[in-house]
């Protein structure tokens, strides 16, 4: 069966195509439209998926949308009614959003693709998350935990699932917590109060938390308290997400923690004000972890299963994930490379194949590389037209040159094969650098990524060497496969891994297996042989405000804008010529 999965209209729209039960293409709309977190109907992504598989829309057996728009409308309307009369300000906008567009998804898909309405299907938002986590994971039986801001009504679900290759698959969600009580929206309120963009700046809260101490944890526990049945509830007096479209926290929140941070001013965690922000971030992080670890622990007891599949935007919180692994007694944690809403496109397509249409399960390849491939000849043409040094070199020589250059402080743009599906650069669209030089971290933050100085960078290490450098709990290697866990750097290595060790001595490490990205693995091994440790700084290949690069032209553009030293696409290597960069390459009238 040929099934197209679509997620759209909230943030980070995406499309994914499965054929006979296996993913063949998946890409976020932002990677093609070049508009970060693009929520629009993913026509470019759909077009690319179909072209990649040489299909026409009429060849599709089914199109599945990742959530139920009518049920979502029910939630929006009920929330507005419950907020009467204070909700009058947001009613017009909310109604225009829902009944002016988002409710008519079936019609939109039909109008855009020309697919008959009867072939268009829907599933639950959290079931899409669950399917994305479970049906792609190499496990036959697992407990399921999904948590995000909100889907239709559910904000968090627990359940269990089973499958076997060639046999049936089954996912049953047992219980859920309903809006407005939401771990995702709880964290978003702190994100907004700290002056970061919601749905994008949550990483920054997590990074900032490491600088603080959770001295407000008591107060935060009042805001996010436990219910008698083991779930949780928000004290809604502190939040505004159920009353206002553009506000996340209330006046009471401000009375408790003080005025929100001015988003235009930098945070300096060494100042008293900066420490205050860091302490609030640490408190929110601490309480989030407590709640999610408790729920996971209870789920482990209830199901007796040793594996946990984690989905939803909250699963991007690597610190919380690592704590679940350490404290909940699950032996393995599976977080997909795209646990957020974009990943739901793939989850929904797999759910439709296995469960809606009852097709036998087939094990999915365990990698995130489902996007457009880089075309090195495009890069060769661009570089030649600009007169930059560009060479095709054999693998051994390429490794040799890169190891030498990185060791001397070069920063490398690295493009290989198909782009990653999901928010992280996992070895095909990366910026690579020396992990031992703190000045390198500052240079990349300041000159290349243009981001806050307190944000850490991630290391990448061959999976079989990870234990040497990082303190991993049992099952840690799996969590590190897609960079989903934060683990302590062993004290004896922290000095030599300064650029990738966060202030609290941890790192969000990717543990790379050779089969997943053989060339990067080979580079790491070569780097280890020359410099003593097979670890590189690995950050996504993009500039602040841009999506990760997809094509050779975007990689080349970013290479020049960021002032990277080398750009590699497959076996092609382009070298920056600093003397020529600004003068002869750029002419102005």
């Amino acid at each position: 069966m040929k099934i197209l999965g679509i997620s759209a209209f909230y943030h980070d729209a995406a499309a994914a195509l499965t054929i006979d039960g296996l993913p063949v293409a998946a890409v976020q709309e932002e990677r093609l439209s070049r508009s970060k977190n693009d929520p629009a109907f993913p026509l470019r992504a759909i077009t690319w998926c179909l072209d990649h598989a040489a299909l026409e829309p009429e060849d599709l057996d089914a199109v599945i949308f990742y959530e139920r728009p009518a049920l979502k409308f029910d939630r929006v309307l009920m929330t507005l009614l419950r907020g009467f009369p204070q909700s009058w300000r947001i009613f017009p906008q909310a109604m225009k959003n829902m009944v002016g567009e988002k409710l008519w998804v079936r019609g939109i898909i039909s109008a855009q693709l020309g697919v008959p309405a009867k072939r268009i299907h829907f599933t639950d938002h959290h079931l899409s998350h669950a399917a994305a986590a479970f049906l792609t994971a190499p496990t036959q039986q697992a407990a399921i935990l999904t948590a995000d801001g909100v889907g239709e009504w559910a904000t968090l679900t627990v359940g269990q699932a089973r499958k076997r290759s060639g046999g049936p698959a089954e996912i049953s969600l047992l219980r859920e917590v309903h809006f407005p009580h939401s771990l995702g929206l709880f964290y978003s309120a702190f994100t907004a109060w700290l002056g970061f963009p919601v749905n994008e700046g949550e990483y920054k809260v997590m990074g900032l938390a490491a600088y603080g101490t959770p001295r407000f944890a008591g107060e935060v526990r009042h805001m996010l308290h436990r219910t008698r049945d083991g779930a949780f509830a928000l004290d809604l007096g502190y939040f505004d997400h159920h009353r206002a479209a553009d506000a996340a926290y209330s006046h009471r929140f401000v009375e408790l923690f003080g005025p929100p941070r001015d988003r235009f001013e930098p945070i300096d965690p060494t100042t008293p004000q900066g420490r205050h922000y860091a302490d609030v971030a640490a408190s929110a992080q601490c309480v989030l972890e407590e709640v999610i670890v408790d729920i996971a622990t209870a789920l482990r007891r209830e199901t007796g299963l040793s594996d946990l599949c984690l989905g939803g935007g909250v699963a991007l919180n690597g610190v919380a994930n690592a704590r679940i692994l350490r404290a909940s007694s699950f032996e393995r944690l599976f977080v997909p490379p795209a646990p957020g809403d974009a990943g739901c496109a793939l989850g929904a397509a797999l759910w439709a194949d296995r469960i809606l249409f009852g097709q036998p399960h087939r094990d999915c390849p365990d990698h995130p590389f489902w996007g457009p491939a880089v075309v090195p000849t495009d890069l060769a043409r661009l570089a030649a037209e600009d007169g930059l040094s560009c060479e095709r070199v054999g693998e051994a020589e390429l490794m040799d040159r890169l190891v030498d250059a990185i060791g001397r402080g070069a920063i490398v743009g690295w493009m290989e094969g198909a782009a990653e599906f999901g928010p992280r650069a996992l070895g095909h669209r990366s910026i690579l650098a020396d992990p031992g030089d703190a000045a390198m971290r500052d240079r990349i933050n300041r000159d290349i990524k243009f981001r806050e100085s307190f944000r850490p960078f991630a290391p990448v290490v061959p999976a079989d060497h990870a234990e040497t450098f990082f303190e991993l709990p049992p099952g840690g290697a799996r969590l590190g496969r897609f960079m989903s866990g934060v683990f302590p750097v062993r004290p004896e290595w922290r000095d030599r891994l300064r650029a990738v060790t966060h202030v609290d001595g941890t790192a969000r490490v990717q543990m790379l297996e050779a089969a997943m990205a053989p060339r990067l693995h080979a580079l790491l091994m070569a780097y280890g042989r020359r410099h003593g440790l097979p670890v590189l700084l690995n950050t996504s290949f993009n500039l602040a405000g841009d999506p990760i690069v997809t094509s050779a032209a975007e990689g080349y553009s970013t290479f020049r804008r960021a002032g990277l030293d080398l750009l590699v696409a497959e076996d092609l290597i382009v070298r920056r010529d600093p003397a020529r960069q600004d003068h002869s390459l750029e002419a102005m009238a």
């Binding site: 029910d74 309307l77 109604m95 009944v99 409710l103 008519w104 019609g107 109008a111 020309g114």
Partner: protein
């Protein structure tokens, strides 16, 4: 290759399929375990408003006039 349709044509297709969505919504509310049947008249009214909004979006240049007629 996805065949591109004009904006108005797309919106007419959306409006044409709206009845199915409204039926789904009403059926869901009717069967809802949470006792939601009282919402049906409001939902049907708001969906009708939505159909007009969608039509208006199809011809954005005329949108203010369509609203005025409404």
């Amino acid at each position: 290759m996805i065949r591109h349709r004009g904006r108005l044509r797309r919106h007419l297709i959306i409006v044409g399929s709206a009845s199915g969505t409204i039926v789904d919504l009403v059926r869901g509310l009717w069967r809802s375990t949470g006792g939601r049947r009282w919402m049906i008249p409001l939902v049907v009214f708001l969906c009708s408003v939505g159909v007009i909004l969608t039509l208006a979006a199809g011809v954005e240049a005329l949108a203010p006039f369509i609203y005025s007629i409404f």
